[in-house]
Amino acid sequence: MTNSWTDLQNSRCFLIAGSNCAENHPIAMRWINRARDKGAKIIVVDPRFTRTASQADIFAQIRPGTDIAYLGAIIRHILVNKLYDKDYVLNYTNALYKVSKGYKFDAGLFSGFDAKGKKYSIDTWGYQLGPDNKPLKADSLEDPDTVFAKLQEHFSRYTFDKAEKITGIPAAKIKEIADTFCQAKPATILYALGMTQHTTAVQGIRSYAIIQLLLGNVGKAGGGINALRGEPNVQGSTDMANLFNSLPGYLPAPIGTDKTLRDYLVRNGSIQEKPLVALLKAWFGQSATKENDYCFNYLPKYNLSVNASMVRIFDLMNKGQFKLLINIGSNSLVSIPNRQMVRAGLAKLDMLVVSDLFEIETAQFWREPGVNPAEIKTEVILLPAAFVYEKDGSLTNSGRWIQWKDAALKPLGESKPDLEVLDSLFRRVRQLYQGSTDPKDEPVLKARWDYGQEPSALKVLQEISGYDETTGKLLPTLADYLKAPAGSVSTGCWIYTGVTGNGNLAARRKNGDPSGLGLFKDWSYAWPANIRILYNRASCDANGQPVDPERKLVWWDPVARVWSGNDGPDVVDKTKGPDTPEGKQSFRMNPEGVGRLFAAKYTSGMPVTPPADNLSPIGLRPAGLCVDGPLPEFYEPVESPTSNLLHSEVSSNPLVVIPATVPGIQKVGKPEDFPYVLTTYGVVEHFCAGGVTRNIPVLNELMPGPFAEISKNLAQKIGAQDGDTVEVASARGKLRVRCLVTDRLQTYKVNGKDTETIGIPWGWGFASLSPGPGANELTIGALDPGAGTPEYKACLVNIRRV
């Protein structure tokens, strides 16, 4: 989240779209209701009338996977009616930047599309650069070359009527949503998997960024874009980069062609040198020296063309690449789309190691009903895991609060914290490699790995927070890390630096909130540098004073000549005032220092004169890019009941990845065979794959099993009553489940044609106290090209009464 749970109380309007927070993040309602008691309005856009929708002032039922259509219409509405915050747009976004001449969008494709390689070359998505390699800026928004003009041109096609035909939401209602959201300041957007589980996920969230930048809501209390992360430490595990293509602290992982540290910096900018070197010092300690590129080459280099995201790993597993899978706290057999891929993949492993609390489906895939154990040669080791309150450690919540907890109970039976398992496993592997002279074994032998005989979670957090390698002392604050020369400090995850600076700040429990804005600065520690609301510089005007008198976050103190405030100032340098280039930067993590309406290809700080001996030049900071376009464009889901009404020649996202090395394992269904749209989701009574909650009797009492929610029209059409058993089938699988006939799903029109949505919660499997069919028998493993997230929220199915 750019803001936090407790900040929601400051909002005057909520757009809850792609999130069912009343069910999947119930704590949100506590703070939303506090805002509502002060008059805030709630807008909910969802394929179903959910328990969150029951709280909405405005509810719109949308066809799954068509968010960009109505969001585009809202952007157009803002631009046409000049509802944008002019000062904010001019000073804190790249609206005035001139886009390179080569950029074009036509007939569903951006410039630079390589049909054969199914990817874009992004050279034409840059800015017009001046001699100093800095982007040229126009004088006014009317200049046709500006980002602003490109925005107007791009979204001119998104009228309310067009959006109605695509999404099924009446035009008047979309307008009502747009007007309500644009007039209430500050307004915030809450989204979760409803937005991320599409093949157009990244661009959908980009639409939110554009809307919030145009309205000037980012960086303000009660504003921002709040991603409601789904799991207790998904924020932490993303920060620690359990991801194939990144390193802790969101550093890009090295690829094959990064032969040296310099090659890596050429690709990723010199800004990455300090954090990468600090990370290598944390991992290899004294062995990492300037001479050996700080053991840069000890790291594995992934292959860019093998986009090994989670679903692709099972695809590779199907090809037999993996002999060993270590599966910690994850129930893939229930949660991966198109479950047959997982079943087939796991069977090809030599060994599967699972660490979990319960005997989850993944651990006993070899005796799933209908499977012959004798044919499955995988050896499985199931290790009992300790539970959250049986082990020391920290969890990072959605609001980036790193919260420490001491073990309250001893682990049950012989279960162990995963920390102990990983620690003893590594030390055993190192023991096995003792005495090896093979260079490939050096990383194992030279790695710094000493967290005590009984591994202490605090020692690990201290390694993450960082040390001054010259003195061996803990680095007090993030500022100290930023000041220290590269190589002299170590930090396991630079954005966490300072969490154990002066004592374990993650364990702080002072819950005062003098500002009244719900910042709670003295409770635990928020990364980075305890800043509770990111980009809060943007909440000030040109001379550094808060624009919203009721919600003062940070301000420039002209007397003390320093940035101060209720929240930690999100500025490059506290002493550089609003009149300095650094003091003007509202989005200091972007190369332009401003918000990016247009996600241009640009690297700041490119040297004017090329370096000697024709080495490639190294810039400061390259921009984060979207592989499928600098601007959001509406594309249909991979399985869609209709063609694309904006450009039928390019219906779904041209860069979509459908991993299917085993031919036929990921069939794509046609509307003629599978006329209805399926969306999958969770329910408040259970959690994710249900590995834990389906083993808690009272939760099974509250929600005994899955169901297929269908409209009364559809029920009548297939002759089903509430409670009958229905069979739902997709091109990939089928399941039988109880049907729930409801008015909370209405038939709607798409391009004039009646369309039905079916909803099935997905968190069930054959194991546990409350087994049930898993909706991921049906879903498709089509991945968003940028994020790799599968399109759980939309696919095509058929349904019949059994």
């Binding site: 029951s54 005994p704 909370r744």
Partner: protein, 265 residues
Amino acid sequence: MTRKMVLADTSKCTGCKACTVACKEWNQLPAEKTQLVRSYQSMRTFTPDTWTFVSFDENYSGSQMHWLMRKAQCFHCADPACLKACTSKAISKTGSGYVVIDADLCIGCGYCAENCPFGVPKVDDQKKKAFKCTGCIDRVENNLKPMCVQTCQTGALEFGERDELMAKAKKRLAEVKGKYPKALLYGEKEMGGMTHSYILLDSPEAYGLPSNPAAPLALTLWKDIIRPVGTVAVGGAAAAVVFGILGNALRGNYGPPESGKGGKE
């Protein structure tokens, strides 16, 4: 202890059912096997082991869905039918406004279950005891909130002094009426005033509740008329016998039979 109140503002309830879990956790009640009854409701009604659950009623009119969710539990009436029906004097009212069943006195006869207009108390046939929401009287008497109120994240449940909270409820009702014209306050007067009162978004019937609940006429007749009159009648008969004896004795009818008076009619 001053009279307490719990306000359930159903306009804020999202049907998350945390109240059911917290109630079972605090009172150590076992989970039960269930099936979805309708919508997302998994309990049809109360059982000896389920003292609160959320009822779901979907009504769709004028292309507007109203998903009525209500946390059902004992209302703790000021004039409780169960107390009136209980012949074992096991049910009593506390100063704080709660109606509690004393398990030692209860004999499981089920008269409370028969006569409660809301079907709240239920008899456990093994334990031969009637059970219902205790209002977390143990917590309330120790100045804690009832467990359901403490766990409610949306703020739909509030606990406080009766007069203060009832005034606040009326102010809140005015706001809720803006979005739900048919909203009403349920529990201010019903059954003599209920400790668990509600802001409902539609008529009580829409929630499966009686508009003006009352103890069954038969119960009132039984306890207010038949029982006292009957007692007086029996008492009167006994008294009559006493006077009869006295009358005969004074008239010497008890004298020796041959005294001539015996047998005189």
